[in-house]
Symmetry: D2
Subunit: 313 residues, 4 copies
C-alpha cells in the first residue's frame, strides 16, 4: 500500500468543513499533518475551537490544530452566521474541546511544514477564505513550488455566487488572498459552486449517514440538517449543497469529478462583482491556465464514499 | 382581431438580427414602424445597409430604415467580423439594396415616434448594443414612461459571456448604454445567453427552413449555416444559438419563454468583468427588480414559429 | 483687422459662466455663433434661461441660445445650488428673458455649424460638463478634425478637486463625456482649478467692476459677490476663483496664461477618484499629449481685460 | 532629561532611508529598538543588507536589523533602481556589513515589541511600502491601540505622485497595505510629497554635510549627490527632495512641520489612480479624520538639525 498522502486542511468550520475534516480523518489514505483555522464563516476564535471539537468527535484529539489569520488581507471580515448559526457548528450539541490549540501560528506551520518536506509532498486543502494560504505564499514565496497541489473549495461561475449575485463566500471574504493564490504558480484544483451545487444533502443521503448508528453519524446528520435549511429555502431543493467535503473526496477518488484546466481570475477592483471568480471555461482569452476547475460530480458516489468513511470513525 | 403591436427594431445585422427582422416582417401581429441601425457586429455603414438588404429580401422595401449611433457612448467600438463575416451578413449572396436610408437620425426617430404616440403604445426591440436607446433616453428622458416595453437581446449570467468570459457581446460593446437603459425605469424584458443558448440551429431545424423552398427560406438557411459555424466549433454543439429572433418570438408567443423578475446591474468599472450583466436571480441583494429576465425557452415551438412566419414572406 | 474668431460657448450658468459670456459678448475679436446650454450647476431648464438672461443683460438678445443635454451620458445629474444659489444666477435681480430659445437641439447646432464651416474655423468653449460636446463628437465623429480648438474650463490636479477631494465639478458631473472629449483627437486647451484658483475676485477687483457705473458692471459685481461667498469661506481667501472667464480670456490674450502640453486622463472606474483629471505634468508615462494644460495666469492682467470688456457692454 | 522615545524604523534603503536612519542613530532623544527591512526601492535581500551597512557606518553595529516582507500584500513588487541605483545605496562605496541579520521575522518583532511594552510607548517610523506594518496589524490587531504613533513617509496630493502621475512610490508599491494602515485606527502622521518636495538637497546644504569632515559626512554627501540626480533632472531644481528623514525630524522637532488632520483614503480599485492618497484637505466629505497630514516644513531648520545630528556619528 502507498504511503498516506500528507495534507494540511485550512478551514473555517462551518458544518460542511466539519464533514470534510471527518471525511479526511476517517480516510487512511490521508495523513492530516495539521488543521489550520481561519476567520470566515465565524470569527477565528470559533473556527479554531470548532476544528478541535470535530477532531475530538472523530476520536482524534492528537490532531494538531493551529489558529491563523484573524481577518482578511485587506477588507473587513464578513461572516455567515445566518447560514451556519451563531457557533458556526449549530445543529448537534458538541462538548467544549479539551485538546489544546497549538501555539504556533497557522501561517508559520504551513511554511515550516512545506519547507521541511520534499517538493511535491504536501497538499493544501483550503475550505475557507484563502487568507492563511496567501499569507504563507507572501511570507515565503519558495513554498509555491513545493506544494503538491492546492485543492480548494471556492468560487463559482455558471452557478453565479451565493453571498452576492456574482461571488461565492470564501472568495468574497478575501478576494485579495484568492488573487494571490491563483497567481502564485502553485498547482490549483478548484471546487466551485458549479460542482458543489450538484452534491445535495437529500433526505435519503442524510438518512444513510444517521443509519450508521454511531455518535459521529448522529452528529453529522444533525450538522447537515441544520446546514441545509438555508439553501433549501433559498433554492427550493431537496437538500443543500455540501461544499467542503468535495475537496477531500477529490483526494480519495478524483474520478468522481470532471472538470477542465482553464484560467481563473479574481475580481478585486469593483464592488459589484467583488470576489467573483472569472473562469475562462471557453478559452476566449489568452490568459494562462492556472487551475483545474471542476464542474461535474458523481453525487451518489460522493455520498457513498463520505458515508463509508464516516462509518470508520 | 387586435390592432398590430407597434414596434421599432434597433439592430446591428448580423445574421441573427436578419432572422429577427424577417420574423417580425412576416408576422401580421406586428407593425414595424421603423428599423434603427447601430454600430455593433460590424460598423454602422454596414449594419444600416444590411437592414435594408433584409427588408428587400422580405419584399418590404417600404420599411423605414434609419442610421443611428456610429460608436458607443464612451468606449471604442468593438466589432465581431470573426463571427458574422466581413459584411456582417456573410452566407447568402444578397444584392445591394435599392431602397433608401431615411434621412432622420435613428435617435431622433425613436424619440419622435414615442412622443407622437400614446403612452404604452410603442415597444422597442434592441438586438444590438444599446447605444441608440440610451441616447434617446438621455436626450428625451420623458420617453422612459412612454415605452410599452424594451424587449432586448443581451447579457448572460449562468451561461457566462461570449466575447469575454463574463460579458455578452451586445452589452460589452456599450456597457454604459446598457447601464443607462437598465436604470431608466422603462420596463425591460431581457433575453440573455441563458435563454438563447437553448435555441440551437440544429441540422433539422435549418433543413425545415430550407425546405420552405422560397427565396427567403434559402437565404435564411445560408445565413444560419454561416452563423452557426463559429459557435458550433466553440461549444461542440449541433447548431449555434439563435439569439435575436427570441426577442420577436417573445412578442408573438410569450408563453414560449420562462423567466423571473429581478435586478440586473451592469459592470462598468472593471476591465475584467466589463459589460457583465449581474443578475440577482436569487434575490440576495435589496436592489430593485428592473427587468424580466428569461432563462427558459420551448426551442421547438420557437423554431416552428420562426419557420411558419418565414414561409409568409 | 483680422476677422472675428468664431466660437460656440457651451455653458451651465452659473455666475462665472455669466461673466465669461459677457466677456465674450463684449469682445469684438470674438464672433459668438451660438450659446449652447447644458445641465450642470443647475438643471437645463435654468441654464438655458440663464444664458438668455445674460444675453439680454449684455444688450445682445439676437444671440442664439440652444438647449442641449438634460443629463450626463451615464451618471445621474449632480447640481451645485449650494454654490450658485437656487437659480444658478443668484445675486442680482435679472428679469425673465424675452428672447426666444432656439428650437434646434444644442448638439445638432454644434454639429451643423462645424460641418458648415471650413476645417479649423470654429472654436468650442465649454464652461460646464462636457455632455453636449461628447454627444456631438459621438454623433458625428468627423467634427473632431474640424474643430479649431476646444478651450475648456474643467479639471484640477495640483489643486485637487472641489466637489470631491479629487474631482472638479464640471468633470465630476460627466466624467464619461470628459473621457470622450479628451480621447477624441480634437485639440484641447484646459483651464483647470490649478489656474483658476489663482484668479481671485478680490475686493478691489470687484470694486473696479462696480466702478464701471453701468448696469452690466453693477450686475457683475453682485454676481461675483454672491459667487465668492462659498469659496471664500471654504478657502479663507480674499475673493473666490473666477473659473469660466479664463476660457474666453485665453482666446483674447493667450499670453496671460502659462501651461504645458501633456496627457490628461479621466478616472471613470472608481468612485473614490471618479472624475479626477490625471495630468501627467512630469511625463512619467508614455501616454500621448492630448491637451495644453494651463497652470499660470497673470491675474491682474486677466481682471483688467475682463473689466475693460465689460465696460463695452 | 526625558527617557529616549522608543521607535522602530521600517525601511527600504534607499539613500534617503539611509539619511533617516543616521539621523535617528545620531539623536539621543530616540531609542531605535530595531530596524525592520521591507522590499521596496530594491528587493528585500538588498534593503536588509543596506540597513546593516548604514548601522555600521553609524558605528552602531549593535542595532537590531530584521528582514520582513519580501513582496507586497497583493500586487507584484515594483522597484526603483532607476532612482536609487542597482544596490539601492549607490553613491559611496560602503563595505559589506559584518553585523548579523536578526533571525526573527520583522513582522513578528514588531508585534512582539508592541505587545511587550506599555500602550503608547512605541512609535513606528515606516519609510517604505507599508507591507510589514499592515501584516503586523493583520496578524495581531490588538497592536493598533498600543502604537503611540505611526509617522510615515508616503503619499502625495497637491504635488501629485512620483511613480505615476497620481501615486507616490511607497504607497503605489503596496496600496493595499496603506489602505489597511490608514483604516486601522492607529494614530498616523503622514509626510507626503507635499512636504518632502520642500526639503531640497541644495548644493549648499550638501556642502554643509560634507564639511563635517567625518566619514559619515562624506558618505552622506555622496549618497545625496547620487540620489538627487534623478529628481534634479526631472524637476529642474537645485537639489532633490529628501523624503524619509522628515519622519525622524518630526520626532525630534515637530515644530519644523505644519499640517492638518484630515481623512486620507487610498485608491486600490483603479489602475489609473492606483495607490493615490486621496487627502480630504478641505473637508468636502464626511469621512473620518484618520491622519495628521503635513504640508509645510522649515527646510533650513530641517537641514540644520540633520547636519548637526550627523556630526555626532
Ligand atoms: Ca468552509
Ligand atoms: Ca444583433
Ligand atoms: Ca460653468
Ligand atoms: Ca524609503
Amino acid at each position: 500500500m502507498a504511503a498516506a498522502r500528507k495534507i494540511i486542511i485550512d478551514t473555517d468550520p462551518g458544518q460542511d468543513d466539519a464533514l470534510a475534516i471527518l471525511l479526511a480523518l476517517g480516510s487512511p489514505e490521508l495523513d492530516v499533518l495539521g488543521i489550520t483555522a481561519v476567520a470566515g464563516n465565524v470569527p477565528l476564535a470559533l473556527t479554531e475551537k470548532n476544528a478541535r471539537k470535530i477532531c475530538e468527535l472523530a476520536g482524534k484529539p492528537e490532531t494538531k490544530v493551529f489558529a491563523g489569520a484573524i481577518r482578511p488581507l485587506v477588507r473587513d471580515l464578513v461572516t455567515a452566521e445566518h447560514v451556519h448559526g451563531r457557533s458556526g457548528l449549530d445543529g448537534p450539541d458538541l462538548p467544549e474541546p479539551e485538546m489544546p490549540l497549538q501555539e504556533q501560528h497557522a501561517v508559520d506551520f504551513i511554511i515550516e511544514t512545506l519547507m521541511a518536506h520534499e517538493e511535491g509532498e504536501i497538499t493544501l486543502c483550503p475550505l475557507g477564505p484563502l487568507t492563511n494560504i496567501a499569507l504563507a505564499l507572501n511570507r515565503e514565496p519558495r513554498i509555491a513550488s513545493r506544494i503538491r497541489e492546492i485543492v480548494l473549495m471556492g468560487g463559482g461561475f455558471f452557478e453565479g455566487g451565493n453571498v452576492t449575485p456574482a461571488a461565492e463566500f470564501n472568495i468574497y471574504v478575501d478576494p485579495h488572498a484568492a488573487d494571490v493564490v491563483l497567481r502564485s504558480g502553485a498547482p490549483v484544483v478548484m471546487m466551485p459552486l458549479d460542482v458543489t451545487h450538484k452534491a445535495l444533502t437529500t433526505r435519503s443521503r442524510i438518512a444513510a449517514i444517521r443509519d450508521l448508528g454511531t455518535k459521529v453519524g448522529d452528529a453529522c446528520a444533525e450538522l447537515l440538517e441544520f446546514f441545509e435549511r438555508f439553501d433549501e429555502e433559498k433554492y427550493g431543493t431537496d437538500g443543500g449543497p455540501l461544499h467542503d467535503p468535495c475537496v477531500i473526496a477529490y483526494l480519495l477518488q478524483p474520478e468522481l469529478f470532471g472538470g477542465r484546466r482553464c484560467n481563473v481570475a479574481v475580481e478585486t477592483g469593483s464592488e459589484l462583482t467583488m470576489g467573483m471568480t472569472v473562469i475562462d471555461w471557453w478559452q476566449v482569452t489568452e490568459r494562462p491556465k492556472n487551475a483545474l476547475v471542476m464542474r461535474d460530480i458523481d453525487a451518489d458516489g460522493f455520498f457513498k464514499l463520505l458515508t463509508k468513511r464516516l462509518a470508520r470513525l
